[in-house]
Symmetry: C2
């Protein structure tokens, strides 16, 4: 099965590639579907492939030995993920779970050295992805060290909505199902605290909730909360 260039031509990861370059990249890939809640790869499993998300949303989850779960990030359409090979790792450090039905491009790790040599801008894009994830994660550590729960949750919501928001009449909605528990696992807090805060924000007209739904109705107001600039 041959994949069409148009699948990936518009993506930032391939911005610098010409037609033949795109074909070279696609020649080694295959596309597959992952239904909602299925695992694309599993924490600790041998890293045999790397991936690009064509459609859908993917949750990257780490589980501690004691069974605690933490959501490291959400992958959006067009992003590379599971690129353990680019970091010289042989196992996946986290699991990737489809938050909705997804379409994923898969490359075998064996293709990496060759791709890196023949399509250097593709490799550069992978390295940049890793670099920006490192930045994001370090920023998260800073947030967790210095900010209170309310600001952290507000920031997290704004980030989600800015990366994976869908405009509606009411405001900007997270365009995949997300539970209060998920938000808690992203911010290092508890389901209960998230629920309480969202309820409070709903009363203030900042957000609107629903089952596995969050709509930010007043992004600017939420930013004020995130920056801790509100007059209590």
């Amino acid at each position: 099965m041959t994949l069409d260039r148009s699948l990936i031509a518009g993506l930032p990861a391939f911005a610098d590639l010409d037609g033949p370059g795109l074909d070279a990249v696609l020649a080694r890939a295959r596309s597959s579907r992952f239904p909602k809640d299925s695992e694309v790869f599993s924490q600790g499993g041998e890293a045999a492939s790397f991936f690009l998300l064509l459609a859908g949303h993917i949750r990257v989850v780490r589980t501690s030995p004691e069974g605690h779960q933490v959501i490291a990030r959400y992958i959006n359409e067009g992003e590379l993920f599971g690129i353990a090979v680019a970091m010289g790792r042989s196992t996946y450090p986290a699991s990737a779970v489809a938050a909705v039905d997804c379409v994923v491009l898969t490359w075998p790790n064996a293709a990496w050295p060759d791709l890196q040599a023949r399509v250097p801008s593709f490799a550069a894009s992978a390295y940049q992805t890793i670099g920006s994830r490192l930045q994001d994660t370090q920023a998260q550590v800073m947030e967790m060290s210095t900010q209170q729960v309310e600001q952290r949750i507000a920031h997290a919501l704004l980030r989600i909505v800015s990366q994976s928001g869908r405009k509606t009449e009411q405001g900007i909605e997270v365009d995949f199902p997300i539970t209060r528990q998920d938000i808690a696992e992203m911010t290092g807090t508890t389901l209960h605290t998230v629920s309480r805060l969202l309820s409070a924000w709903e009363d203030e007209g900042l957000v609107k909730g629903g089952r596995q739904r969050v709509v930010v109705t007043n992004p600017h107001g939420l930013m004020v909360v995130a920056e801790n600039r509100r007059r209590k």
Copy 2:
């Protein structure tokens, strides 16, 4: 000034290099001294170079807009740091401060593409460094999400001591000056809490403190604390 191969021949970053490879790498580098407390590079500053620590210890610090400081990591002898260029970044995301007098190799970023092409194993080592920092940072997020302060501090201490410990008669000592405040900034807690816990541990015979000094006298006991397996 020409640098001698022996400077770097034993380092993991150059493990795969032969003699000419080492020379090629060194040809573009220059070596310099940084006195204690001086900055090797500064957060937000334009990233013009990347570095390797030949001797000493370096503290990587991020400062928030509100002035909060967080210690992202310590760099040990033989490690690459400030490799913004490998992540496609144009500014440094943190500052690097010499914790003791240091000797540092410096390459201009301009040398990177060439080195990457001619000494691929050097580039690979840089990418692996970034990858393992991402792992470390994500592990830190997990710790901060799921563990209490006591465990986090115990883990942090064990990590420091295993990476930069010096054996003494008393136990393993952190071999650079480190304050309670530093430990607090590594673990997202406060000077006071760190001091209290170290005092308590000293009473239990796990560690021994001093001004800017920490000696772990009973690593195994401290691991029990870190794993939260103690009978209170």
